[in-house]
């Protein structure tokens, strides 16, 4: 969790950007509030999924349960957002957004990587989940950071 009062624009997400938990995905957002990456695992095909669903998006089974992911993964792809029209993001540019392939098979997570330099990010880079507070102290956002701090720049 990033320390409050650090002055990062990422720490002042306006309320309309959520999270707005539903009965289906409250576990994900509350997990992030506790510092855990919660995803679903299918008891039938053993694959994982993110975001939460009533059924397994891989095989269709209803036997899906929450698990805590390791938080480890690799960058499947990324972009560097350099132009954004909606607060707080104009104060954040340039920043990296990545599609992360989790080490738990079947699940990908789209996340910001505020601590990783646009010059340092690369496809295949090992990353790990970090967590950031939201307007509701019980909830949080999931970000990703370089797995090795010296890979941030």
């Amino acid at each position: 969790m990033s320390a409050p009062g650090t002055g990062s624009p990422w720490d002042v997400m306006p309320k309309h950007l959520g999270p707005w938990p539903s009965p289906e995905d409250r576990e994900f957002w509350e997990g992030a509030g506790r510092g855990e990456l919660r995803i679903q695992r299918c008891g039938a095909c053993r694959l994982h999924q993110h975001y939460a669903r009533l059924l397994c998006s891989h095989c269709g089974s209803l036997d899906v349960d929450w698990v805590t992911a390791s938080g480890e993964g690799t960058v499947h792809s990324f972009t560097v957002v350099r132009q954004h029209g909606v607060p707080p993001f104009p104060d954040c540019v340039p920043f990296v957004v990545a599609l992360v392939e989790l080490s738990e098979r079947g699940a990908r997570v789209l996340a910001a990587m505020p601590t990783v330099s646009p010059d340092a990010v690369a496809i295949g880079m090992p990353v790990r989940a970090t967590f950031r507070g939201a307007h509701d102290p019980q909830l949080g956002f999931v970000d990703f950071d370089a797995a090795r701090p010296d890979a941030r720049t």
Binding site: H76, T79, V81, R82, H84
Partner: protein, 386 residues
């Protein structure tokens, strides 16, 4: 005997900048011009298809136009909606459910909302619709979603920013010939690469324009078409497919739904990629064109960049593409899918003036909607499928 289906009317509204017109005015103007072009009156229009950004759009439009359609179609799957409208209208006319259908689109996107659609604007400030609640807080933009897919293609296949830029350069060459295009000055690959990076690897000139504008096509039976003024343009095949809604769920960032609906539509039409005389491709971004060149079979997977950079999209190239200047240079009022069908019709009628592809007999319109999410392919020809 199967009823054959033809495009018999085509019309464009004023554009690309119309600060004194609402979206409905643009739609009505395009509708009026297309119906007149077809040699029909609005009372002949029995079916209406349209898509806007809210529900019941086609119903509101019918009331505005003062028509009472017996067949309505409002598939709303983003920019490709209109290829799906054409597909559904084709089958409905073929089946005898309806004889004459108008497909209409118009929007004053530029004048009403400015240029922020691709960079975070355009969304509401209410509760986020599922599954965008997972995307918008990351700061990913619409441009960024396409950029992420392009980045993966570069990683897997060695595609270069120069190859992507060559697509914008060639389509601009066509806009130079279109007096209604938004941007008409020729550009070079260096111009694209030196324009501002919006979301790596996409530069400003890799992105479509935001404009105002509208257009309309009218379809009817071959039998009816024989009595009308223009040479009929036949619908020979049409298919649709989707892979995901939001880009985080795109199964393969380097392969679009065009790999499914393109070959399916070609098979229905009795053609192969080599038979296509002109390609009207939804160029929301240069990458959209590149990946679909591969997925529709114009180039092998991974070689779309080289195919484009070789100049094949030019008027004198192997596959003249976006001969009106496309979304990249001519017009893109929020959604572009219907403009593809209009330009394909213009080419097959031989009415494209300076941008005419000589002896064009087969034109393909390929729409893309959402975040490379939904696609629709329509094959049009000067002759029916035998």
């Amino acid at each position: 005997m199967t009823r054959r289906v033809c495009v018999v009317g085509v019309g464009w509204s004023d554009g690309p900048v119309t600060p004194d017109m609402t979206g409905l005015m643009l739609e009505a103007q395009a509708f009026q011009r297309a119906v007149a072009d077809a040699g029909l009156t609005k009372a002949d229009v029995e079916g209406l298809a349209s898509a806007g950004y809210g529900g019941m759009h086609e119903v509101m439009l019918a009331e505005y136009l003062g028509i009472a359609p017996q067949w309505l179609e409002s598939t709303s799957c983003g920019g490709s909606s209109f290829e799906l409208h054409a597909m559904h209208a084709w089958r409905a006319i073929e089946a005898g459910d309806v004889d004459t259908v108008a497909i209409v689109y118009g929007n004053n996107q530029l004048s009403a909302s400015g240029r922020t659609l691709g960079t975070g604007g355009g969304g509401g400030r209410g509760v986020l619709p599922h599954p965008m609640g997972y995307e918008l807080p990351t700061g990913l933009t619409l441009v960024g979603a396409y950029a992420m897919a392009a980045q993966r293609h570069m990683y897997e296949y060695g595609t270069t920013p120069e190859q992507l830029a060559s697509i914008a350069v060639q389509i601009r060459e066509h806009a130079v010939r279109n007096p209604n295009a938004m941007y008409r000055d020729p550009i070079t690959v260096d111009d694209v690469l030196e324009s501002k990076l919006v979301a790596d690897p996409l530069h400003k000139l890799d992105c479509c324009v935001i404009s105002d504008g509208g257009c309309c096509i009218v379809l009817t039976t071959e039998e009816r078409a024989r009595e009308l003024p223009h040479r009929p343009v036949y619908v020979r095949g049409a298919a649709a497919a989707m892979t995901h809604h939001s880009v985080h769920s795109m199964p393969d960032l380097t392969r679009s739904a065009g790999a499914v609906c393109g070959p399916k539509a070609f098979a229905q039409a009795g053609i192969t990629a080599a038979d296509v005389d002109t390609f009207q491709m939804y160029d929301s971004f240069t990458y959209t064109v590149l990946v679909c060149l591969e997925d529709l079979g114009f180039a092998p997977k991974g070689e779309g960049g080289a195919f484009a950079a070789d100049g094949n999209l030019r008027l004198d190239g192997a596959l003249p593409t976006n001969t009106d200047g496309g979304g990249l240079s001519a017009t893109h009022p929020g959604m572009r899918g219907l403009f593809l069908l209009c330009e394909a019709t213009r080419q097959l009628r031989g009415e494209a003036g300076d941008a005419q592809v000589p002896d064009a007999e087969i034109a393909v319109a390929h729409g893309s909607g959402g975040w490379l999410s939904t696609m629709g392919t329509v094959v049009l020809g000067t002759e029916p499928l035998r």
